[in-house]
Symmetry: C2
Subunit: 308 residues, 2 copies
Amino acid sequence: MSEAVRFERVALIGLGLIAGSMSLAMRRAGIAGEITGYARSAATRDTAREISLVDRVCDSAQDAVKDADLVVLAVPVGAMADVMADIAPVLKKGALVTDVGSVKRSVFDAVLPQLPEGVSFVGSHPMAGTEHSGPRAGFAELFDNRWCLIVAPEGAEEATVEKLETFWRALGSQTERMDVGHHDLVCAVVSHAPHLIAYTMVGVADDLSRVTDQEVIKFSAAGFRDFTRIAASDPTMWRDVFLTNKEATLEILGRFTEELFALQRAIRQGDGEHLHDYFTRTRAIRRGIIEAGQDTDAPDFGRAKKSD
Amino acid sequence: MSEAVRFERVALIGLGLIAGSMSLAMRRAGIAGEITGYARSAATRDTAREISLVDRVCDSAQDAVKDADLVVLAVPVGAMADVMADIAPVLKKGALVTDVGSVKRSVFDAVLPQLPEGVSFVGSHPMAGTEHSGPRAGFAELFDNRWCLIVAPEGAEEATVEKLETFWRALGSQTERMDVGHHDLVCAVVSHAPHLIAYTMVGVADDLSRVTDQEVIKFSAAGFRDFTRIAASDPTMWRDVFLTNKEATLEILGRFTEELFALQRAIRQGDGEHLHDYFTRTRAIRRGIIEAGQDTDAPDFGRAKKSD
């Protein structure tokens, strides 16, 4: 497989954290001719123009995708069907469409039936992000050493899938192929359930009457604050994720609740051995993550060393 | 209140992350004459000697506390009673004893009945830590700008409480007084419940048959890995925390489960508005934490910028 890839025109639909980082990473890699972009919000388009996030900001999605060889749907999962309906009539023959959504079954359902003859679609899921959103949040290094899952529909051409993989590697990612159902289950485990749990814990803390928000904030370094970063993610994006990956997320949350009840019972009954065994087992996964280069081993992610 | 404080001899019982960091921070501040230390494990004592973590490592707790003006109980909460029984007969008249446990009611129950005449006790809870433990984990900056809760028993002398506050400020902390019951509730919210939830989520992910550990590890940057840091904390310490702060922890977990069920129902019923409202509300707490200097605003805690 050749590692050279180039698209003469790339259109980014949506100009948030992921699309913005893609634009900067494409420039860094020098793999795109012109990068066009469109966002539904005029304010976002203005900001994107102001900071030259892409080469040309368009006032319609149709203008942006005109003559594009690669079209990236970087909008919330719930908006994919409408965007696709809008752009389908003007997509160039031979164009490759991809998305960057966190859920794939529902993106397939939204996109594939509307795909014009001669246009291909293969899904992408860059497993990278920060708690910040919007056009100013992007940076070229976002994808470096992170995984991008490539989810191809049945019957996709091997050369097209390979081209998309090469593209993501040029942006700094590692790639792995996954089928659509497994993708949605894996993401429920590593991403969707953790986000819902984090949102829940932050909401509970916010809602207590006997402990003030000021206390929660002041003393958050004791563990709570690690939940707040992912619970600060974009609300619209996450609403759509849960609504569109319903079954897998609810399955994992069911398992979670079962385990939590077992640990609560161990606490209530004073079963220290059960707790100690459980807490020892979970350390191994952390070590695996550090060894795999997916997190830093700096204590407290390195932030405690600063006297900020 | 004068900010000058000095102890001619400080004894650290337990030589883990917190005690080690205290020794290094006391040296940095120049507020201790001799720092002695004791740990139950001979291996820990050997390591502490090898890296000169304290000025003198003793082979018994009694030796370490002899003539000490300040004695710090830095052992798991469940070990406090035994340590106190051991050292009580040799504590110096006029000495101040403190602890660094994460739970206070049960420390009071373990320590106060055994306190000799002429010796004072005031509890400390430095709200700082990392996922690392043991004598090599300490560093002088651990307490900088973090909060140390000061929990005095009824009838404690004001001058003694102030002396302990001044001590912690010399180590870099900010201090706040709290009564024992409120302390244990606040900690259940900001620390104990989040830790149990993180342990649970990591345990669930580890236990799935349809998603491999390798997949969980590889794709952890999507949210899961933020849970793994606190779920890598010391198992013995945390077992003791849950067993000794049972009621407050179970109360918060009960609230958590209630909320989680409400969100699960919203997902099942497709109630996007409920989800979006909830996810919007939780963003405010994150902003408060950044503004209070209790976390960094660097995207992804700054770790994503490194191409590690």
